[in-house]
Amino acid sequence: MIEVVSPAWFSIVVDGGRYGYADVGVPGSAALDQFAYNLLNYLVGNETGAPVLEVMGNDFCVRLNAEMTCAITGAQVTAYLDDRPITPWVSFTAHKGSTLRVKEVLEGFRYYVGFSGLMEVDRIIRSFSTNLECRFGGFRGRPLIKGDRIALKDPKVIGERFVPEEVVLSLDPPHVLRIIEGPESHFFTPGTINRLFEKKEHSWYIVSSKSNRIGIRLEGKPLIFKKGVDKSIISEGILPGTVQVPGDGLPILMLYERTIGGYARLGMVAKVDHDRLAHLKPKDRVLFQLIGIDEAERLWRQKVEMFYRTLPQ
């Protein structure tokens, strides 16, 4: 059993995502950093798709009421098991009754905490992920609060596993997001598009504090629509990473909570950069780089290969 002593700013149960029912509006609600999520399950010896905790903020603390292997991935943090410092991206074994505490986030935004064994949380529509708006999945469909107790089925101890340092990316801003052209990129003036991708000071956007798990809102110079174009579109399907631009000209990076959108889609964040979206925090600087679909696919293949190289088998 895992007892929440302090949930930090915000912590929820997530997994690889809820797929197969987008036709009735069910979004993925996946762990935002899938690389960190998948490697966490590897580190603690759990099966692909097992639930983990996704946490934001300092001072996360759980008491572990069984002997088990644990690990932390995602944002760079300082963490302690009782008084002993813990190295992220390396599994460690906790004795029954020990306390795991994440003191501070040093770089990035969201970190992931996993335990060997299966957290007994709600599996709804084929997924453990929490859908916060609809209040289902995960731990009773809500963020964790102090005093929550999560049962752990078959806690176990496995040998130490680690992720090589060189595959863990720097998460410091500015975040350079690679973008593939979207269906409505022609809604914008050539001047505005050039400015966006120039990587000069006037191309920066700042992550807004109004961002949430649905989308990351950006602040900066509004993008300019061509004269006479309709600013909204007939609503249609979108995928995670879609860059939507509402009438005010300020882009929103859509995450895993919407299946249909009605705003102009300037582009899509290339898949290789999706995990980075988990680490865009208010006030971070964001720059865009336009790439072609072939380049995007090549970068993605490279990332997948790196992922499999990380696993020792």
Partner: protein
């Protein structure tokens, strides 16, 4: 049918340029056909007013392979038999505390509340798409007399069951959510039950009539 890419693992198929039932029915047929194949390389299908977005698994297929498969099947899709559409009656409490924008819709249309309700409840609507959030039906077509633009600034929250209008569409907020549509009433009917398949009460192609209570 116009095929194009949507990111690395999306196929976007456009069937028309307007909101009309004929186009939507063609999309429904395409979507139900594709769904019936239960292909492992397709993660999700998102049909909507004038397009269908396919989210595919790039480890199992590619854009080119999937599109050439779909093109081969165009004839078969045209003759695919779709199930009959289902009909629903949804009770609605109009106006007052349940319809914070009723007053706006009245003044915008120049009609009184009784007339707005009468017009809204006398049309049988078709569900053109379900989404943005689980179980939310995008329905049309609204009578032009009660056309209303979206809110300039969306509300941060409307209660579950809120019935709204936007342009020539009407919809029901299946969960408490942010909302840019004009809210004129509320239903107590549960539109989405995450514990019971098929989860969503309303599906693409269903017909809906509102009953004032």
């Amino acid at each position: 049918m116009d095929y194009s890419r949507y990111g690395e693992d999306g196929v976007r198929i456009i069937f028309g340029n307007t909101i009309d039932l004929e186009t939507n029915n063609v999309i429904r047929k395409f979507y139900l056909f594709l769904k019936s194949l239960q292909r492992k390389d397709i993660i999700d299908i998102i049909p909507s007013f004038r397009s269908c977005l396919i989210h595919f698994n790039s480890r199992r297929t590619s854009y080119d392979d999937l599109v050439s498969f779909l093109k081969d099947k165009e004839g078969e899709i045209a003759s695919f038999q779709v199930p009959e559409t289902r009909s629903h009656e949804i009770p609605v409490q109009y106006g007052g505390e349940y319809g914070p924008d009723m007053e706006f819709v009245c003044s915008y249309s120049g009609l009184n509340e009784e007339e707005v309700v009468e017009i809204h409840a006398s049309t049988v609507y078709a569900v053109f798409a379900v989404g943005f959030i689980p179980g939310f039906p995008y329905m049309g077509t609204l009578d032009k007399r009660i056309y209303a633009p979206r809110l300039e600034t969306p509300r941060l929250k409307v209660p579950e069951g809120s019935v709204g209008l936007a342009q020539l569409q009407t919809g029901i907020y299946s969960f408490e959510s942010p909302a840019g549509w004009r809210i004129i009433g509320k239903t107590h009917i549960q539109l989405f039950d995450p514990t019971k398949e098929p989860y969503s009460l309303l599906r693409m192609g269903d017909m809906v009539r509102f009953i004032p209570v």
